[in-house]
Symmetry: C2
Subunit: 136 residues, 2 copies
């Protein structure tokens, strides 16, 4: 993985779910929304369009697989995906399950209020359901 | 294009840039940020992960090409991409050029304040620069 290290802020805000081909899949420690983050394990990567075509294709494919798993697990109204990186520059892709009436619906999750951490065990339970859905 | 019609709200908020293989590329009529929207021309499409693999791959590839063109044209700090669809359910992908100190930086563009339309001609000038960058 060529010197890749997970950004400290991402590490502090999340818990690990599993390792995908592209890199670690994380769950945001915020129980307001079921929120996953895929971090392509390329040292120094910032913009998806700057990666080589094979790497970009794999990341997009895995993003879609994670989105499908998240939708099956949550039965949400709409998947929201985004690659912003205005605060944490390390390339990372948000995959979030949105449901009508959730916090800030129909607005975005980014920049809205303060993170509400999971109760002990709940994030791991959610992570286990995602892992199982990805293995189907 | 199998009965595809551009959503009325998307049509009202944007101006056309060009037609890509996946579908129309639009510019959001909001001069606060250089903001493009790709609308895959599949009637009834809502979630990218529900499209067939070839269509999804082409959409992702074109999103990355548009992002690269937008970055060359604007020399922005960071590209923000997102597929939300909480308000307009028709599948559409936002590709936005963000620069330090722009409106709501480093927060998201979605849901922030009111759209500020371009002055006459400015949106077309921007669209022409994007088209030229895509043809390079």
């Amino acid at each position: 993985m060529n010197g890749f290290e997970l950004d400290q802020r991402l590490a502090g805000d999340t818990l690990p779910v599993t390792m995908l081909e592209s890199g670690p899949l994380l769950v945001m420690n915020d129980r307001r929304w079921p929120w996953l983050i895929l971090v392509p394990a390329f040292a120094g990567a910032v913009e998806l369009h700057e990666l080589d075509a094979d790497a970009a294709r794999r990341i997009h494919q895995e993003t879609d697989l994670v989105a499908a798993a998240l939708k099956r697990v949550t039965n949400c109204t709409k998947i929201n995906t985004g690659a912003l990186g205005n605060m944490v520059r390390q390339l990372h892709i948000h995959i979030v399950a949105r449901s009508e009436g959730d916090a800030n619906w129909p607005g975005p999750v980014w920049g809205y209020g303060a993170r509400v951490p999971y109760e002990t065990g709940d994030a791991h339970q959610f992570a286990d359901r995602i892992k199982a859905a990805l293995e189907r």
